[in-house]
Symmetry: none
Subunit: 222 residues, 4 copies
DNA sequence: TATGAATGAGGTTTCATTCAT
DNA sequence: CATGAATGAAACCTCATTCAT
């Protein structure tokens, strides 16, 4: 049969890069995280991501299916990363108040230092969590923060420094809200009220207020 | 598909509409607000806005220049509206604690009831406040909340129920953060932590926590 | 307000062609018919259609929504055209046998002369009629052929030249099958059996056979 | 260079599969036949074929060169198969009329039962037989049907039941046309004329008409 | 031989915006 | 003022094919 002699419709120079699927995935994911965080889902450009990657646009679709799949992967990685970091926070050996202070401070610092993550979360909220809903991975993440907070609250209550009836999820919500706002609403708030929200001093000041606010809330008065 | 019916459409039906520039503007702004709040700046579609408007796309460009101009106008209107509503809040005759409670409750309720506004603010923050920066109108708005809070704090401090050193802008930030989060981060938070954040009970419960959190922060202990 | 001074993101030279919606539509449809008939739905290229059109690719989407919408419009036009031509066939004054001969001959000639139409029908069958199913227009076409055939059969039966029990739809199917095959299966049949199917003589010969085949089928034997 | 260093994931699981070139070819051809018949040449997806095959995409190219080569192989197999089946039809011992009836009935039944084959033929006709032209195998197939028909016609003419001048290829064309149409044009015809063409009853009815039509054509009248 | 990774070309579609009437 | 027609740029995505290991 003359199969091999058949004219080939496609003949192009092929530049092949070393095959390293994990590396390629990581590379794409890293750039995509930046692009999505910076421009939102709709503002992000697949072409721009591809251009900054070490691979081609095609690979992006090869690995992630479509723009949405890529965004979901970005979200998953971001959430997995923060969960991992949270899990590393060691509060053993700290009394409840100190533990809570540490955790809040940690949250505040982490969020202040990770604007891209915050932005991804905002963006996902604008999209009403539809991508998160489509991700099985994220929803299966268990959140050690909640358990930590529960433990802290329990211990604090037992030794009489914290009030009764503090729900750890409520508490987490308060912590998140206060830490989040500083990053998420920076642009409008600082502009409208002429207040610096990014300098080291401003952050330190706000950090103290946030910690103090929450501590006062949970503390049992004599 | 109504392709075949298009032919007839050429014989244009002449609908004599009363010329009402202000009405037209308002109409466009209303629809645009919905579209931008729902889809973000990049997700919003000029065509969709025009289609739902009682005028044509041309008018949209005629009145607002371009998509960005329209978005800015939407932002301006939204901020003006909230400022106006804030200004109507009458706290005279209330002692500092009650006044603060009222104001926080009001903020919480307003934000809970005005998701589109919250979303516009989020969206503008994603865009790093660039449109707000381009609007002279918004930045000239003075914020009566700050003055109200300053007044409340002063009175509270004078009569010894509030602590010293409470900065009204810090306080406003805390209030905003706590009220905002409930609306802004609903989608992700409620999904991740399996917590209802929209029911009347959930709102009431959270509202109390928010008020309590802030009151405890400002209150002077004996 | 400085709306008008705002920088325009898009400023391009605009070459506008005379507005003639009907003409534009017709133009697109004509080219698209050729492209689809020649290459099938999947083989057809929107770019190619646009390039041969007097308008741009954009207009194609403006008028027909997407490739599928365009294909449906092409089908609709093709079917409408043949129905119209069928309707023009005047058989009054012909006795049943002559009328039937005329109609078959007409069908044979029409199909032989309109390969693109035949190809569109084949293509649509390959797609299992899914586009036709989506077109309300086509399905509402009534087929005068059937009525003509019914009339011919009735008259023939009454005057005793045709058999009883000839169903006009069955008859139409036979006519179609015999006329269609010659065009539709030309490529494979003529190649496999080494038989010319396109020359004037071949067509004339086949035409006679087809007519004779059907006439014999309906004719009542003494 | 550590770029080249493989990750663990790359230590490939070695699945020892029995090497069975013929089996692999058959497997690929079977799946490819389905895919091409279902979607046409342009609609068929190499990836889809590969995915459903028990081998990889590489093998597909290894065995068949390219998509076109695969399609040709599919066509070849399909034609070879039908030729083989035709050859098995035994008409010895039947008088000309019975023999012809049997052959037509057989053709009708075979085509009704083998839609994929019919579709491949249609598809190839849409491509104007270019693949068939490239296949030496198919064109070398001799068609026993023609010989059978010639024999039947001769016998029939000799014993005075069939007319003179019936060309076997013409006759085969008529048979094919009538049998083919029912399968090939099912989608459009049944939809346009609201007629069932797939039920057992409808098929039986049509089968009779087809046989009767042809028999009447060849039969010599007293 | 077998497999997943990689590729470039080109496919369809969308968008904000502007023109002609 | 008002409306439908028109536009170009660029967006996302797909495909057959080939390479590296």
């Amino acid at each position: 049969m003359d199969i091999w002699r058949r004219r080939k419709a496609h003949r192009r120079r092929v530049v092949v890069r070393p095959q390293d699927p994990e590396g390629t995935r990581r590379d794409i994911l890293k750039i995509a995280t930046e692009e999505f965080a910076e421009n939102g889902f709709n503002g992000a450009r697949v072409d721009r991501i591809a251009a900054r990657t070490h691979t081609s646009k095609r690979m992006l679709y090869y690995y992630f299916g479509d723009k949405e799949g890529l965004f979901i992967a970005v979200l998953e990685q971001a959430y997995a990363r923060i969960r991992k970091i949270e899990a590393e926070l060691d509060l053993t050996g700290l009394d409840p108040k100190a533990a809570l202070r540490t955790m809040i401070g940690f949250t505040f610092d982490f969020q202040s230092a990770n604007e891209p993550f915050i932005r991804l979360v905002i963006i996902e909220n604008i999209h009403r969590g539809e991508h998160l809903a489509r991700s099985t991975t994220i929803q299966q993440l268990n959140w050690p923060v909640i358990e930590s907070l529960r433990d802290i609250c329990d211990r604090g209550r037992r030794i009489g420094v914290f009030r009764d009836g503090i729900d750890p999820i409520d508490l987490h919500m308060t912590i998140s809200a206060l830490c989040f706002f500083n990053v998420a609403n920076r642009a409008t708030f600082s502009r409208l009220f002429k207040r610096d929200m990014t300098s080291a001093e401003a952050l330190a000041r706000r950090r103290d207020i946030v910690i103090e606010t929450i501590l006062r809330y949970v503390t049992k008065r004599r």
